[in-house]
Symmetry: C2
Subunit: 346 residues, 2 copies
């Protein structure tokens, strides 16, 4: 007995259905849909009417498997953690750029795990993305040769990849911390502490390097006891800050290498009751930074530019695969608020 309780037509209409209804060949439908020449206006109208009345929608992925360029009009993005405001802001900018070129974005979070990053890239690859934008983790992105060999270009964002040359966009990290140091020095600070992430993370290393070179230019050299790295979360940053400000003499100012360090550090200063006396500048702008007391001076990254540039580089690479690789930098901006203005004598 025939089953009649099935939904009548689960399948979406295809060009075959359209062709049948419009009484033309399937190729003519394809021509109309792709705006190819060689179709009489009245035939075109018949096809469009059939498309309309069936609610036909092109099957992009079936089309892509047959098309010469194989493009799926989608790109893959790997960030460390999409829940992090830095990542989500960059992602949003990439989305907007991609949308303007009618592309969709597949997003995955690697959590800084190279294996997870690689898995995501493979999953993207098997979905035939046209290109990849990656915030690289780990010490080796050479596995990406496979993607490139098969026509999938890669752009790195936030950090350059390792063992794999490709287009990249990064912030001017070293310049940012250097500017922070100069800003503090101009307020009379000489004993400036630094709290940062693991040095294996590109941005963390760059920011410390900028800090050190600016300190050297001013005072000969930075005091190593005031520099703490390898801090992965606010808790570790807090503990490190408590230690550093327990030194004698204690620093009079503090530069934080990222927002997690900043959160921990402000907690520590609060607990120690010296939040009003120690100058503080943090990398990454944070929501509400201007509502803290004292409000927090930050080195803000231009996440919109970071994302938009990464997307631009990718699309330009798609348009011109043979062009030389480019590494672009995006300026950071010191946003002066109260915490950076506290003088050394406080």
């Amino acid at each position: 007995m025939a089953r009649t309780d099935e939904p009548p037509d689960r399948r979406a209409p295809t060009i075959k259905d359209v062709a049948l209804l419009a009484e033309v060949g399937i190729k003519t439908v394809s021509r109309v849909l792709n705006a190819e020449p060689g179709v009489r206006p009245e035939t075109r109208d018949r096809v469009l009417k059939a498309v309309e009345s069936l609610g036909y929608r092109r099957n992009t992925i079936a089309s892509s498997i047959r098309r010469r360029d194989r493009r799926t009009a989608s790109i893959g993005l790997v960030v460390e953690d999409l829940a992090n405001p830095f990542a989500s802001s960059v992602t949003r900018a990439i989305q907007d750029y991609a949308a303007a070129r009618s592309h969709l974005v597949l997003v995955g979070s690697s959590d800084g795990d190279p294996a997870r990053e690689r898995t995501l890239v493979q999953e993207f690859g098997s979905r035939l993305v046209d290109g990849l934008i990656i915030v690289p983790s780990g010490a080796d992105q050479s596995y990406l040769e496979y993607e490139r060999a098969h026509g999938v270009p890669v752009v790195f964002v936030d950090r350059p990849g390792k063992r794999f040359k490709a287009d990249a966009v990064v912030s001017e990290n070293a310049e940012g911390t250097a500017a922070a140091v100069r800003h503090l020095a101009a307020r009379g600070h000489e004993r400036i502490a630094f709290l940062g992430d693991r040095q294996s993370v590109y941005t963390a290393a760059q920011r410390l390097a900028g800090f050190k070179s600016a300190m050297e230019a001013l005072h000969g050299a930075a005091d190593k006891r005031y520099i703490r790295t390898g801090l992965r979360d606010p808790r570790q940053a807090r503990d490190a800050a408590v230690e550093v400000f327990g030194l004698d003499p204690a620093p009079t100012a503090l530069v934080c290498g990222n927002n997690l360090a900043a959160i921990g550090a402000v907690h520590a200063l609060q607990e120690l009751g010296i939040r009003d006396r120690v100058a503080c500048i943090a990398f990454d702008d944070v929501e509400l930074a201007d509502l803290l007391r004292p409000s927090l001076t930050v080195i803000a990254q231009d996440t919109a530019a970071l994302g938009a540039t990464a997307a631009r580089l990718l699309f330009e690479r798609l348009d011109e695969p043979g062009a030389p690789f480019r590494r672009t930098t995006v300026p950071v901006r010191l946003v002066p608020r109260e915490s950076g203005e506290i003088p050394a004598s406080a």
Copy 2:
């Protein structure tokens, strides 16, 4: 003359290449890849060796067009603005749930524009996503009937859809603001102000409703002069707060309907110099809320649960298309900090 400067083999290897190398038929390769029974272990090994040596990777989308279930192992997600921490946090939770089932997530931002939402859904549809998770905007989601008719289930998150019945997960918005009111009332407050978004936004309406009913239960009714809605950004919220706290008698406490309103309101209280005297509870947790002085009491939404539940509902719907629709609610949590403890007499 033949062009020899082309890359030697841009095309990724296919099962045909694998079959050739392993000296088997393509169907046997397919069997091995899909772990179908009926392949001798030694044949299997030959195939796997060939897969390995060619670096073969299954073309998921070619496979999906032929497969009976047509699944592409990808889902589409429409949020309002991915750069918003609420959205990115929910997205991250959905990603994780999807990844655990080997699914990828396509994400788009609607910016609250119903037309954009619809465009995104269509783009997702033409990429053959297996399902959709949507934060709906506008007054009519009935266009989703098309997707459902063609086998693409929909789950709403954060707000229910309008004119379209589907699974949905929302926060206990009304309970949240009601709890805030009760919390303030227990500290002696009777004149409590409310700042919120446009009432056409589901969550904003729910939160005001919870506020009003709790006020009625306590004091008979809320004073309408203390209630301001339609606030779209921190600037408008600030202005409204300045007006409300200029009234005589002024409110002694404030409930903010969302984080943007909270930011504006805290600015206003700061400017008016009454930040230490007016109690304040805000919907949505914000980074650094605990570092403000006074630290900000909030009604935190469980974004992780919201996202995970949405994903779970979607996958369960995929597994069982005929089941009755479910609307799930996720509890909110009042996080007591300093600003909620300020007594009415302050």
